[in-house]
Symmetry: C2
Subunit: 461 residues, 2 copies
Amino acid sequence: MLIQNTTSSLIDTLRDRRQRLATLIDFPAILWSGSRRSRNYPANNFPYRASSHFLYFAGLPLSDVAILLEAGKLELFMDDPQPNSALWHGEMSRREEIAQIIGADAARPMSELELVVEGVATIAVQDAATWTQQSQLLNRWVLPQNPPQGRDLELAKAIISLRLIHDDDALAELRKAAAVTVEAHKAGMMATTNAKIEAEVRAAMERVIIAHNMTTSYNSIVTVHGEVLHNEQYHHPLQLGDLLLADVGAETSRGWAADVTRTWPVSGEFSSTQRDIYHVVLAAHDACIAKIRPGVEYQDIHLLACTTIALGLRDLGILQGNPQDLVEMDAHALFFPHGIGHLVGLDVHDMEDLGDFAGYEAGRQRSDRFGWSYLRLNRPLRPGMLVTIEPGFYQVPAILNDVNLRSKYQDVVNWDRLAQFADVRGIRIEDDVLVTTEGSEVLTIWLPTDASAVEELVRKS
Amino acid sequence: MLIQNTTSSLIDTLRDRRQRLATLIDFPAILWSGSRRSRNYPANNFPYRASSHFLYFAGLPLSDVAILLEAGKLELFMDDPQPNSALWHGEMSRREEIAQIIGADAARPMSELELVVEGVATIAVQDAATWTQQSQLLNRWVLPQNPPQGRDLELAKAIISLRLIHDDDALAELRKAAAVTVEAHKAGMMATTNAKIEAEVRAAMERVIIAHNMTTSYNSIVTVHGEVLHNEQYHHPLQLGDLLLADVGAETSRGWAADVTRTWPVSGEFSSTQRDIYHVVLAAHDACIAKIRPGVEYQDIHLLACTTIALGLRDLGILQGNPQDLVEMDAHALFFPHGIGHLVGLDVHDMEDLGDFAGYEAGRQRSDRFGWSYLRLNRPLRPGMLVTIEPGFYQVPAILNDVNLRSKYQDVVNWDRLAQFADVRGIRIEDDVLVTTEGSEVLTIWLPTDASAVEELVRKS
């Protein structure tokens, strides 16, 4: 890769990040970029994705390199390209050029990495070639599936405290990802009435992302079976009565993500039952966003979503009883089994490679309660955090046909009334919301949530 | 994954393949599917791709399973989905269903795989989770970077002899991939005049592939810098005098690939120098395809491409001398440094995971000669083989500015004349050609190669 189009502000950003890291740890750290992963044979690789922790401090999607961070300084370890690589991959930037672009304090060949491993902390990278190298060089197991320990854990906690709060450079990238994602969703809506299968809508959406020289930040979900939460099939035909759920996000070339979901009617018009449930989900979405401000506990946002959904479903006659009681007995989770959202940053579930260390405030642990076990974030909100708000309603056969759940919730669900909503298999509405000192800012505000506005876009094709 | 839309012909195809394998080896083989690879954190995976050898005998892109092939029988080893996977991934097909769809003779849990490992051969899968499992279970190193040995080598050779010659099911899939690839290239041509950067053309092409619920069979090359052979950057602006080189192919859901390149003028009109070189490359393309028939040595096709290019460049005054002499001294390789093509099948460089065992006839080895070292196929052609024919012309700075090469070829290149062709950085024309009993059939025939027809498509946008 020949690196282009970078500015001195990147150098300043990276210096600031490592200097802040230096105030949190008093030992050196080495972060590896990661390596390309072969798909079906060695020369056929998946599109390269550098490690997010590396990207945070190195700024560029380099591969097969490492950086040493110590006392606010950065040393780049990188080999110059092989002689014949120019034929296949073009003129590659050399070590010294890269060092200059990212403002490294030194640049050395990879072979010298072994000279600086004394007492360093690291974080495991996902690919085996790299974690093998990490383990060999540090002479201890560094495995992505093992929770970090000792200095590695101290390093992880320090990096989490930095990455939780997005700086200006991060926000600029996150806004770019959000803007392209909004355009992708609009394109998806406008492609629907001419599409025969889900894949065609997905294609219209990803076209926008690819055209902006970005990638998807996760495998797109574009499905008429929204009740399958992470559906990655796209072959189903679109039928006039269907709702189409699209959970699609862009990622910038430097790795920053967006994560947005909309649900729209294939026909361009919600049925009355679909509109009713859509409004319940939208009410939860709006209420949660309105509540976001510094100091608010994210679990209270989740609770608000549960209560709003329970209330809405009670008003529609699907649930029976007092909304607070319904939520207390987890009845909402029959239809809203996942969490209200998660952190977004360089990862679409930001720093989830570290398990719950990033998502959960120290001392807190995941609940195993139905309706709470999938909550990925449980911290007080602080300015600079970016979170998703993504309430949903799903009729998941595996839940609603579960004998134990059916018997437990026999009396609080009006099953006959529910049967009238059979054309609502899955609805989710998801935006990316920045916590600000004043409250919040929806980065994806330009994509309508209003049912009529959504219908209008679908009919625009 | 819930498996759908399969037919009894798949069962027959798979049975035929394993029965033919049984005539070639007299020991059991286990083929692993492979596992999903995490991208930046464990729950964020690259799109799954099963091992090609597995796909050949199992037919479906299953993950985390293995098949035992012995004496024409197939036993499926697979665990049923975890209880809560239905929430996230939908109803998954169970072991017995899958076994029925692929016509397995038995279906057993993965835990029983260890009972059948005695004396089995295997082929290493690319992902570390799987090759670790292979190595542990077979109690020996099974690594993708190690050439197969012993029984593994016998198995590899037997599979190669089957996969070299495509059966009807394979051809049906390869034709599907070719047809969608043709449409993608047409879309790319027609998107060019409205595009500002390469990424926009790539997006228009990949949109077609995604809309057909396929994937790209390799990372697309869509570039105004065609002189970088495996360019994976898409940020360059399109300028009116540029040629755009697009090497983009589709892969069906069952893994069968296409591989096509076209080069077209951004403006919709080749300059006279671009047209001249285009015709040289096209002459090589057409001559090579005309020569394809059973019994012909593929290296002679390569030689024909070299000679045709040398002749064409001589006629344009770029090279000086007798074409045969020029080729003998590798002067053509200054502008055509790669091979004329390769096998295509489940892999776009088919079976390249086995090094040159598939591409090179037993007893033959890669030459290290300039212009021959990148020839990936060196076998006599046989009916049922699918190969690419992809001659090209490139002005690669790393070659043309090489001091040694410049001095060696000082007298046979008219450097002043060459300078007049500065607006031709890279041209490649590539089609997928099936060897038939009568001669050949171009699977991608519907995509024009004629310069005027290409111009017309570009101007159609």
